[in-house]
């Protein structure tokens, strides 16, 4: 059985990977995926703490996070498609009609 600290290290690593992805990657879809990795790191933290504490609050919160992440992804992809129809590009650097 992995200990709580091992779970926490894993989730911190995942969170760091996701955060790095948001800053490094230059494709809107990949940035979205990086944000999903961040949210999954959060889920892992909640579940690990919930198990270690013997309480269900953490698991319940994870259900909400998963649901909201799905809703957010749906809206986000729709917005990205809307922008793609204008510019035929997914590179955030190419959107310059507003000063970024």
């Amino acid at each position: 059985m992995p200990t709580l600290n091992q779970y926490l290290v894993l989730s911190a690593t995942l969170f760091a990977i996701g955060t790095a992805g948001v800053f490094i990657r230059r494709n809107l879809i990949t940035i979205l995926l990086s944000i999903e990795i961040m949210l999954n790191a959060v889920n892992l933290t909640f579940v690990a703490f919930g198990r270690a504490l013997g309480a269900v609050d953490g698991q319940i919160l994870v259900f909400f996070v998963i649901t909201v992440a799905a809703a957010e992804a749906a809206v986000g992809l729709a917005i990205v498609i809307g922008l793609f129809r204008h510019s035929e590009s997914l590179n955030p650097d190419s959107f310059a009609s507003l000063k970024w």
Binding site: I35, T45, G76, I79
Partner: protein, 490 residues
């Protein structure tokens, strides 16, 4: 703790239920009513907002926790709910003509405005990480869609993408901080959490959690250095949405901030006080300096709203009931003056002219004296000049800072107000001194006229007669985790 939710719980969240049902009515009415009936939908939306306001009346004196401590119904939440609903009503009033000009479908638009308002109301009442998170996302997802609502306009789309990416990113940071808070306390309820943390040695992991949550909230209130999205989103989004975003979303995020830090983490007060002190100073200064060079009015107001978030943060640093009361006052006063300024920008919108450049305002007082006078009042109020509400707001905020021993923070605030006067007065100079009238003819409609009149009257009346507002705000501030606040005062 007894499980289950009773009938009384449902009664206590009556305003939220009314708003939810009302938003569905708007969505159905959009299908049933013939096309091109956006005006009717706007009036239905206003009736829903009015009904929600009316359903708040029985809860003037209520102070309870609903559903095993998921939501608090108290005067603090009530004050914010009135601000949100008022801001939503003014936003609807200024949207009618704007939507006609842009040719956007009004049904989902009004529905999403009501959804965002519902999210804000839950954020203001939430005293549990779960409810706060759900409220925040109900609001944020609605705003992502609203920011990109003018689909044929690429700038609107870009604004939506930028807001969405940074919003989702900040959500990840906020949630990670919340997960640490949960893990270290073993509860998601903020009040239970405060009791668990009371008297504990400060844990480095808890300090990390405080920083992560502060960063997540910092994104939402557009505090420097988390403000990069604000100018772009404010400029690209439809003008009424920009107005609602800058007033409603910011106010709700401040409510969330106060709930998390004053109710949940009073034991960490020395730590987060230092954090918000730095944020407040940087936010005020950077916001005001960046606003100096803007020629686009929406962009300038974006930077000015960043600066105002910095002023309000002074109240968090003070952290006393007086500081919280000052924040409540400022949030309400700011709602009227900021929305008012955006109403004038909507007035300038014509078929072919966006009307948000500074030069569009040159000689406005010849073309439309009332619009120019209203804008003059809003600019004076934003700058904090005496007969207006903005002065009273700043007066209480800086007073609370001095009261709590932060004299130099108040001094920096006053210096910043002086800087901000430069760019507010510049608009007044364009309207009253410049002779050429190159810009568009402002077009008034009944809805816009009502909205503008309400904003002007409130801006002046709250400046001339602030006593009632102050008493209300102070009573509301006292209900915010009263025990927690008094124990944390040194």
């Amino acid at each position: 703790m007894p499980p289950g939710i009773t009938f009384g719980d449902f009664y206590n969240i009556l305003p939220e239920l009314v708003l939810t049902a009302g938003s569905l009515v708007v969505l159905i009415a959009d299908v049933l009513l013939p096309r091109r009936s956006g005006g009717w939908l706007a009036w239905i939306t206003l009736i829903v907002i009015g009904a929600t306001l009316a359903s708040l009346v029985p809860f003037r004196e209520t102070r309870v926790e609903v559903a095993n401590g998921l939501i608090a119904v108290d005067q603090f939440a009530l004050f914010f709910k009135v601000v949100f609903l008022g801001a939503a009503a003014l936003t609807v009033l200024m949207s009618v003509r704007y939507l006609e000009i842009e040719g956007a479908s009004p049904g989902e638009y009004y529905f999403l405005i009501l959804c965002a308002t519902l999210g804000m109301m839950i954020m203001a009442g939430g005293i549990d990480l779960i409810t706060i998170f759900i409220g925040l996302e109900t609001m944020a997802v609605s705003f992502y869609i609203l920011a990109g609502f003018i689909k044929p306009n690429q700038r609107s789309n870009e604004a939506a993408v930028k807001y969405f990416l940074l919003g989702a990113f900040s959500l990840g940071i906020l949630l990670y901080g919340m997960s640490l808070m949960y893990g270290l306390s073993g509860t998601t309820n903020l009040r239970v959490m405060a009791m668990t943390f009371a008297g504990q040695e400060s844990d480095p992991r808890l300090i990390l959690a405080v920083m992560l949550v502060a960063a997540g909230v910092g994104f939402k209130i557009a505090a420097v250095p988390f403000h990069m999205w604000a100018p772009d989103v404010y400029e690209g989004a439809p003008t009424p949405i920009t107005a609602f975003l800058s007033v409603g979303s910011t106010a709700a995020s401040f409510a969330m901030l106060l709930r998390i830090f004053l109710e949940g983490l009073p034991s960490m007060k020395p730590e987060w006080r230092v954090l918000f002190e730095g944020l407040a100073i940087v936010t005020m200064t950077v916001g005001n300096l960046a606003a100096l060079t803007q020629s686009n009015l929406k962009r300038m107001l974006a930077y000015s709203s960043i600066a105002h978030a910095g002023y309000v943060l002074i109240g968090v640093v003070a952290g006393t009931p007086r500081g919280v009361a000052a924040m409540l006052i400022y949030v309400l006063v700011y709602a009227f003056m900021q929305l008012g300024a955006f109403i004038v920008i909507v007035l300038m919108r014509r078929q072919d002219i966006v009307g948000d450049e500074l030069k569009d305002f040159s000689g406005l007082h010849v073309r439309h004296p009332f619009a120019a006078f209203a804008m003059l009042m809003f600019m004076l109020s934003l700058g904090g000049i005496p007969p207006t509400a903005g002065f009273m707001g700043k007066f209480w905020l800086f007073g609370a800072a001095i009261d709590a021993g932060y004299v130099w923070l108040a001094v920096i605030g006053v210096l910043n107000s002086a800087i901000s006067l430069y760019y507010y007065i510049r608009i007044v100079v364009f309207m009253y001194v410049k002779k050429e009238t190159a810009g568009s003819e402002p077009t008034m409609s009944p809805a816009l006229g009502i909205a503008l009149a309400v904003a002007v009257i409130a801006t002046i009346a709250l400046g001339v007669y602030p006593r009632l507002l102050f008493e209300l705000a102070e009573a509301s501030a006292r209900t915010l985790g009263a025990a927690a606040i008094t124990t944390a005062i040194r």
